[in-house]
Assembly symmetry: C2
């Protein structure tokens, strides 16, 4: 379970997958693209306001998540961002991108309508893979 309470909008838009050392890993409901979100266990709103060693841990776990997303979803690229204009709780997007995805080469934020959902079995399988990543 997450170490800090999730913003209601993040909780409503995503599946909780796993607790990493730095925070919670979520999967956006919309399965159009592999869209993961790391929510660090901190009250800071912005990355530069997070102190060591959590700050370094976030970078390391975002990088591990990035490598996983590219490998597991056969993506050519990835978009990594901390935006948070609407949801104030610090969260980092890790979004796998492919040249054949419907939004390429544009960004995803604010441009993705309702789309396909993951099945329970898919969420469960992804959560298992994410758990292994944490323990590596």
């Amino acid at each position: 379970m997450p170490g800090v309470e999730l913003d209601p909008r993040l909780a409503a838009d995503s599946h909780f997958l796993a607790a990493f050392k730095s925070g919670s890993v979520l999967l956006h409901h919309n399965a159009t693209l592999p869209w993961f979100i790391l929510v660090p266990d901190t009250g800071a709103r912005r990355l530069h306001e997070v102190s060591s060693p959590l700050r370094e841990l976030i970078s390391a776990e975002v990088d591990a998540l990035t490598a996983y997303v590219m490998r597991a979803f056969d993506c050519e690229h990835v978009n990594v961002a901390s935006i948070g204009n609407i949801v104030e709780q610090l969260h980092i997007h890790v979004i796998g991108r492919r040249r054949d995805d419907p939004l390429w080469p544009g960004v995803v934020w604010g441009r993705l309508d309702a789309g396909p959902e993951y099945s329970e079995a898919e969420v469960s399988a992804i959560a298992s893979a994410i758990e292994e990543l944490r323990e590596a």
Copy 2:
């Protein structure tokens, strides 16, 4: 001067400000928002492909740039992102945001048409501030 050759599109869209330890700091021509870009001195396309100690240096300098942008441009928030769907050279956006900016709360990428330009004096003053940041 930059340690690696800048992608022509990045060079065309921005002013070169300073060489940080991790790479070049650019200022986007469009002065609608304070839009900075760090271009690390690496051939890697994605952050998770950058090895230590450059990887840690990039995070530290992005954080320093973020703090500067919020302070110097009186911003309430900042968007930090590595996207690179169009320009393949690794670059990290650090964009100051305010509730009264014309794109709030949306993202900036792909939504900003031609806008006001900085004067030479403004670019020079910002470059000086950035130089001091590097030496801190």
